[in-house]
Structures are given as C-alpha cells and as structure tokens.
Symmetry: C2
Subunit: 221 residues, 2 copies
C-alpha cells in the first residue's frame, strides 16, 4: 500500500466533481479510502458541522493525504499530478497543458456550476420555476458547453483517441462525468460525435469503469 494508503476521498456516488477525482486516482493507480457523504439524506450530510470542519465550503469532494486536506476538484487533480507524477495526466509541454486545462475548465466552470444541485434548488425553491423549465435550463448549459468542447476537439489535430492525444488526461477526467450527467438529463449526444467517441473509449477502461457512480459503495439502485 505504501504512501497511497494515506489517501481518503470524501465522495458521493453521483457527485460529478468527486467522479473526476475518482477517475484520476484510478488512472494513477493510487488506492484510497472512500468516505461517502450523502448530499440529500439527513438534510444534506455535507452541511453538517463534522464535514464543514474538513471543508468549510460544504461541497464535495475533499481529499485527505495524511494530515493535509485539499478541496476543489481541480485543485485536487493538480495536487495529485504534482505529488504522484508517475502516471502523468497532463502533457509535457506548456501549450498542451494549457489546452488540457482549458478543456477541463470548460466543464468545471462553464457547465457544471450552473447545473449544480444548490443552483437547481434555488431555481425550484426561491424562483419557483417548473420541473420542465429546470430541465430546459440544465440541458441548455450542457449544450452550450458541449458545443464549445466539440468545436475545440473536432478542429484540433492534437485531439486523439482521447481529448489530448492517445492517453487520458485531466480533460477526460472532467468530460466523462459531465457526459454521465448529460445522459441522465437526456441530452442528445449524437450531435457531439467527437465527445461521444472519446466517451465510448473511456467507458471501456478499468479506471473509468470503477470510478462510475454505479460502482461506488454508496450507490443507490
């Protein structure tokens, strides 16, 4: 086990941000302990004081590495890349790294936060919008973001079997969980053939399979 047994991930099976980190941990071959935090039960376990002591943002995931805690999924991914570099998830050149980060950030900034649970709750609760309007909202931001990512991927010869070349990077760690969410909300993926092709290839890799929400210890039927 060695140093990697030190890693503890606070996660929820359906959390898209936690899913990103699970993929990266698996790709890097790092074993870790899963600590489930249920976002809906008990009024939201992430809101309880015991979890806020770990992460005052009351959001998932958090990674503990020995005594240290890292929050924010992209900061966790960069931390893992720096501290456990043997299997690299960023390319070797600065422009390649910038491209991978820009793709990852298009998911992490331009799609995911607008469709996060707390925002959907605000739409339903404070703004009293209908379930139909909420589903339209969700799909709208996925389609906006996927349109951008598809254009980037389709026009750029640095795209390979995966988002950047022929091995998975942090961009794939972020994209695949967003595809999972898109499928839950019945977004038509056939208009994003490059994204769909990358998704289908990732879906066959053990690191992605064992990070899938349905494979988590806290998964619900």
């Amino acid at each position: 086990m060695g140093a990697t047994a030190r890693l503890k991930l606070y996660t929820y099976f359906r959390s898209s941000a936690a899913y990103r980190v699970r993929i990266a941990l698996n790709l890097k071959g790092l074993s870790y302990q899963s600590v489930p935090v249920h976002l809906l039960k008990n009024g939201g376990e992430q809101l309880q004081d015991s979890y806020r002591a770990i992460n005052p943002g009351a959001m998932l995931p958090s990674l503990q590495d020995g005594d240290a805690t890292v929050t924010q999924s992209l900061a966790i991914l960069e931390y893992l890349e720096e501290v456990y570099p043997d299997i690299a998830l960023l390319p070797g050149d600065a422009l390649g790294r910038a491209r991978v980060r820009a793709l990852a950030l298009t998911v992490a900034c331009d799609i995911h936060p607008i469709n996060n649970l707390r925002v959907l709750k605000y739409l339903s609760g404070n703004l009293q919008i209908s379930e139909k309007a909420k589903a339209d909202w969700y799909r709208h931001w996925v389609q906006e973001g996927f349109g951008i990512i598809e254009t980037h991927l389709a026009r750029d010869r640095q795209t390979g079997s995966f988002c950047h070349g022929d091995a998975p990077t942090l961009a794939d760690c972020c994209l695949i969980p967003q595809v999972f969410n898109a499928q839950r909300f019945k977004v038509d993926l056939s208009v994003y053939p490059t994204i769909k092709g990358i998704h289908d290839r990732c879906a066959e890799l053990p690191a992605f399979i064992s990070a899938h929400p349905e494979q988590q210890p806290d998964a619900e039927k």
Copy 2:
C-alpha cells in the same frame, strides 16, 4: 521589449475573468497588447465569427503568445506561471499551491459562472425573472462564496497580508475582480473582514490599480 511584446490579451474592461489575467500580467511585469472585445455592443462582439475563430467558446479572455492561443482565464494564469516564472504567483510547496488554487477556484467555479452575463440574460429572458430577483440571485451566490472564502482565510494561519502569505498569488488575482463585482451589486463587505483587508491592500498596488476596469482603454464612463 523581448518575448513579452508577443503577448496579446483579448479583454473587456468589465470582464472579471479578463481582469484576473490583467492583474497577473502586471504582477509578472509582462507587457502586452490589449485587444478590446465589447460584450454588449454590436450584439456582442465576442459572438462574431472573427472572435470565434480565436476562441470558439466566444468568451473572454483569450491570450495570444506569438502564434499560440490560450483560453480560459485559469488555464491562462497557469500558462503564464509556467512560461514566465520569474515572479511566481503560486507558492513553492504542493500543499500551498493546492490551497491557492482552491481559493481561486472557489471564485472561478462557485461564484463567477453562476453570475456571468449569459446566465443573467437567461434569467431575464427565458425565465422572465424581475430585476429585483436577479439582483438577489447575484448577491446570493457572492455571499455563499465569500462566506466560504472568509472562513478559509480567517481560520488559516497561512493567510497573510494577502490570501496566501505576504505576496499576491493567483488567489488574489481571482478574488479582487470578484470584490469589484460584489461592490457593483452592493454586497455588504463588512461581514468579510479578511477579504476586505486583502482587497484594500491589493488596491494600493500598481499591478492591481492598472488592471482595474476603469483604467482600461475601453472603459466607459
């Protein structure tokens, strides 16, 4: 001028994401050419084909470094840090870098995207919410995010005159533009004394002053 004259920043004076990059360029002492893209005039200049050819995401900022283009403000900040490292905006240790990135991402993922122009337009247009409800929405997400950041900063002894120690980092590059936005929407900053203190110290530094929206060539009265 040397290598730095190669840098060209597509920017809008009030774009919070462009403002982050302007601060970092100034802190690093890198000269650059400003190319204004007006987000409201001409139906949104960022939506025109000429800009989409540079950035298919049709968002600001984009940085050109010679022939290369980098998009997504946080990817640009990391790129500048890697390629122009002389004045560092990330700490030397992995945990310190993770902390700075987590603070920056709390602004860049958890506050800014939800309050971005295109989201506010959707709220007004598609969802027909009132100006009052839109302003409440805006303040809500700033207050949620600033609450988290204030807790992080106030409880952690790594906080110094700035977000991390006594020199500005990428966290300050992201925080200060968000404070500017919060002030525009009349968020009461007195409940975030640590954020306010850091803001007031940054506001006296030339790098932050010359990056301010009102100091830009495209600023409006």
